[in-house]
Every structure is written in C-alpha cells, then in structure tokens.
Amino acid sequence: MRAPSGPDVAVGDVLLSVENVSLSFGGVKAVSDVSFDIRKGEIRAIIGPNGAGKTSMLNIINGFYQPQQGRITFKGQTRSKMRPHDAAHGGIARTFQNVALFRGMTALDNIMTGRTLKMHKNLFWQLLRFGPAMTEEVEHRHRVEEIIDFLKIQEIRRTPVGRLPYGLQKRVELGRALAMEPDLLLLDEPMAGMNLEEKEDMSRFVLDVNDHYGTTVALIEHDMGVVMDLSDRVVVLDHGIKIADGTPDEVKDNQGVIDAYLGVAH
C-alpha cells in the first residue's frame, strides 16, 4: 500500500534525511528501504508496533548501526555511514529505551559528561586544575546547573544515579543529552514506564526544549495521546517498512496504520 506523503509543514529546512536505508542482522531485516526527513525545529514522532524497527532507525541516525544500504544526509552532508563520533560532533544527542546512564557517577557528573565535547583544556591543565581548567569547569558547571534547574532535579544532583527511581533516571538522561546542546535530539521512548504525572512533566520538558532552545526532536513513543499532542509530523513503521508519513491527523485516519496496530495481516 503506497504511503501518502504529508503536505508541506514548513517548520524549517530539512535537517536530516534518510534515503532508502536498509539494515539487517544476520538473516533478520530490521529496516527495509526506509526514507523520510526531519525538518529543523519540528517534533517528529516515529511510531509503529513492536519490532517495527524504530529503535534500529534511531541507532542508524546515531551512527551506532551501519546500514547496508542507503544514505543519511545531515546538515547538508551526505554519508553512507555515520560514526557515533561524527553524530555527536554534528550535534545529535539521544536518550535510550533502557536508560544508558553511567551508574558509577552522580547525576551531576553524568550531565557534565554531556559537556565533554565542548571542554578542551588538555592533560597538562587538567593535572593542575587551578587556572584555565578550573575556569572551564566552572563555566560548564553553570550551563549544567541551568539544565538541572530546567529539569527540576536539584536535590538529586549528588546522588549516584544507580540509586535513583526510574523516572528521575530518565530525566537525568535527558539532561545529559541536553548538555550536548544538540541540534537534533533523539528520544527513545522517553515516557516508557511512567505514570500520568510523570508523562505530563516529560511532555512539558520536550515541548520546552523545542520551544526554548529550538531543538529539533525525533521521538519514538507508544502512547498515542502523547504522539498526537506533541508532534508536528509522524512517520509510521511496521516490520521495517514505512507505511505512513504525515501530520498526526492524517496518520491517525490512515487505514494501513490502523491495520498494523490491530495486527491485521497484509
């Protein structure tokens, strides 16, 4: 069934586009010939039933998986393979389904690691610490504290993250991603495992990030209410293939999408 393409929602120019990307593991085809784009400043949702290849898609954008076919164009530069380092340098940050925080460190330190790419003082100054390295450290601490204020996690900044409840861990992880000052923020099921209140908090954070900092957001989410409320455009995957692409309203009424979620064989 031919996927309808969405009307021009001119939020901005295309920030990232994937073209004809395919990825397999051994015999399993995770993603087949998928193409879509993400425009600057928008909130793009990637949805689909379980096993649709959504996380794999994010991993490809991030540079964690290398697709066998296809290309990724980010900020005008086209690559067939994106390395994690290139992605990070280019301004792509992400959170993970299973919260990939550094368990041995405090919340503050975790978020500070997000500033790594922006800290440049070399080994010699780091050894001394007083002087330029300290100045740099304090400067970045300021920025990190802004993020901590934004996410309202002041009380837990010195707590080792392994001890935090799941919802707070997700917030810290979001903080770490924000610390990278990304142009594109990839969120993998940011609301998973949260109750209604936590979801509302997290939704507000996502909206604020998008409004306030102008960050483009791509998120994977299962909660349809959240998807409908938050996103500007939606892309739907099923069994590794793109089956719909458009505004939430368009996608909602798409028969193919409804079938996919209800498990109708096609």
């Binding site: 991030n62 540079g63 964690f64 994690p84 380092h85 992605a87 990070a88 340098h89 940050a93 992400r94 993970f96 990939a100 925080l101 550094f102 368990r103 041995g104 460190m105 330190d109 500070m112 690691t113 997000g114 790594t116 790419l117 800290m119 003082k121 080994l123 780091q126 050894l127 001394l128 610490r129 390295a133 300290m134 450290e137 304090v138 601490r141 300021h142 504290e145 770490r176 990278m180």
Partner: protein
C-alpha cells in the same frame, strides 16, 4: 555530631568542587600532613620509617596507578609489576648515563618511559575487552619479566643479574645508596607521593576522570556522547604506567637499594591488584588503605605469632599470609566490593549522625 556538614554553604562552584569541601576534612588533611612531614621524622623509629612507612607509601602510589586504570577506567590489568620494573630499570640506566643529573628528575623521567611502555602494551585495548584484555596484559607482564633477565644491558651486565643503586645527592645530602638515611628517603618519598596523589585527584575530578568513568560504566553510551574510546583508554594506560613506573623507580632507589627481575614479577602484579580491590576500586584513599593492609598483614601476623608465643617458621608464616590474603579478597568481594574506602565512608556517615543510629 562530629562530622556534621550542615551550615557549611558554598557560594561558588569552585568552592563546591574543591578537593576537601568540608571543613572537618580540611582540618583533617592539614593535621595528617603535619604529622607526616613533621612529627613522624622526629618521633618514629627507624624501623617503622624504613620497613613500614616508606614501602607503604610507594606501594600506595603503584596502587593509585593501577586504580586509575582498573578502578576508574575499568581496564583490568595484570601487568603492574612489569611497568614498575620498566620504571626501575629505566631509572637505573638513566642514572648510569647521566650521573650528574638530579636523581629525582631521573625518577620522573623513568615515569615517562614507563608511560610509553604502557601505551605500547595498551594498544590491544582498541579491540579487546574484559577478561581478554587481562590476558593481554599478562603478555606484557611475562614479556617484560623476560626482558629484565635476558637483556643484560639493562642491569649493566652485572653477573648476578641484579641492579645496585649508586649514591646520589640532593643539596649535598645523600638520598640514594647506602649513605642515605631513612628519614631523608622518607621525606623525599612522602613529597613525591603527596604531589602525585594531588595531581591524580585533579585528573579524577575533571573532564578526564569523567571520561574514564564513562568508558568504564558504559562505553557504548560514552561513544555516543562523543568520547573517543581509544585515546581515552590509551591515556589511562599512559598515566597509570607513569605512576607505576615512578613507584618502581622509588622502590629500588629510595627503599630497597637493589633489585632483580623477581621484584617485578606477576606476584607483584597480583599483590597490587589485591591492594586495589581491598582498598576500593575507584578510590584514591582506598589505594592507601589497601597498601597499608596488604603490606601490614605479614607484620601483623608476625606480631600475633610473637604475642601468642607460637613456634612457626617464617616459611609457615608466609603460607598463612597467602591464605589470609586469599580469604580477605573473597571476604571483601562478598561483603564490601567497594573495599575499605567504602567502609571509611560508612564510618564517616555514622560520625555524621552520632549519637543517633541513623
């Protein structure tokens, strides 16, 4: 009650990130340094200084080196002894070639040579992880041990394959060789260890320490943040080997006075690893605790033997030492994997709320 920090507010990030932010800690460290630098030389016996304090300080430095690599960066290494040996033999050769240069400078230089060796033997860490990396470090240990025996140039072709330390001075006071007094050597060792510990703590609290810990905790996530894994790991190997090399050089030049290949064998590597495990992986303070415990254990056993008036040969005591070490390792791994450092923290916590239980 004694350790209450309530009421101590920091008004700048700089103050918040200081090494000893709590007033009690600040007083404590000043006291400790005063005791170490002033009281001990005046009051402690030569035996205590020469047979306990100097070696414990030196081993603590080696333990810090290993801790940086294994505790902070998560790269298990069984090659510590080898790198200490590189430092020792490098210092010996440098002292032979440059008799006029101050020996402390030479010790630092041998640290750099050990760091270079560390980088070379750390190169496999690009592709190899975990147990496999530990086995790769065994390769470096056995190879270096072999070099220390089979390359006669290293020990100046001495017939007994051992090295003897020449006399070197600082401001005309002999600090190495048979004429150097224990107090002199102790003060030099103490200064070097104190300075290098401070440098290590600076590294740990800053960007580099965080990248190391990130690589340890979840290297995939670290990569996605933009941390380059390979340079980070190599830097850990380099810095760690630097510390071990300096410790090795000090071991020979400022304590033993001589050395042979056996001083830097795999047994040494294990000993230092045990110090790090028992003291606490990922804790600089723990390195000192661990060194003190492991080094003090044979002395303690000897005292017990004397106190209980048991007749036991030294060999038997040595075997009991081994057994006790093994039991301690397993005990700590079960009861407190974060080692003595953690117990120390728990102790401080109790002090915080004393006399209340919690």
């Amino acid at each position: 009650m004694f350790y209450r920090e309530a009421g101590q507010y920091k008004t700048s990030y700089q103050a918040d990130q200081a090494l000893f932010p709590i007033r009690q800690d600040q007083i404590g460290i000043v006291l400790i340094l005063a005791v170490a630098f002033i009281l001990v030389p005046l009051m402690a016996s030569t035996f205590v200084i020469d047979s306990v304090l100097i070696p414990v300080l030196i081993y603590s430095l080696a333990a810090i080196g290993l801790n940086l690599l294994t505790g902070y960066t998560g790269l298990l290494s069984l090659g510590t002894g080898g790198f200490m040996g590189v430092g020792a033999f490098a210092c010996y050769k440098l002292a032979t070639f440059f008799p006029g240069i101050n020996v402390i400078v030479l010790i630092i230089c041998s640290g750099f040579l050990a760091a270079a060796a560390g980088i070379v033997f750390g190169m496999p860490s690009l592709r190899i992880k975990g147990f496999y990396l530990a086995v790769a470090t065994l390769a470096s240990q056995f190879f270096l041990s072999w070099c220390f025996i089979r390359i006669p140039w290293l020990y100046n072709y001495n017939v007994s394959a051992s090295i003897e330390v020449p006399t070197r001075t600082l401001f005309d006071i002999p600090i190495t060789g048979p004429n150097a007094t224990p107090v002199t050597r102790y003060l030099i060792v103490l200064t070097i260890v104190a300075v290098m510990t401070w440098l290590a703590s600076n590294l740990i609290r800053g960007r580099i320490g965080r990248t190391w810990m990130a690589v340890r905790d979840m290297d995939i996530a670290a990569e996605l943040i933009g941390i380059k894994l390979y340079p980070t790991k190599l830097l850990a190997f380099a810095v760690s080997s630097f510390y071990c090399g300096v410790a090795g050089a000090m071991l020979v030049f400022l304590w033993l006075g001589n050395a042979e290949s056996e001083s830097f064998s795999i047994n040494q590597s294990f000993l230092i690893l045990f110090m790090v495990i028992i003291g606490g992986l990922g804790s600089l303070l723990g390195s000192f605790f661990g060194a003190a415990l492991i080094f003090g254990l044979p002395i303690l056993l000897r005292m017990i033997r004397a106190a209980l008036d048991l007749s036991m040969t030294s060999a038997t005591l040595e075997h009991i030492n081994f057994i006790t070490l093994g039991i301690l390792i397993i005990f700590f791994l079960i009861a407190e994997p974060a080692g003595l450092a953690r117990l120390w923290q728990i102790g401080k916590q109790k002090l915080r709320v004393w006399p209340f239980p919690y």
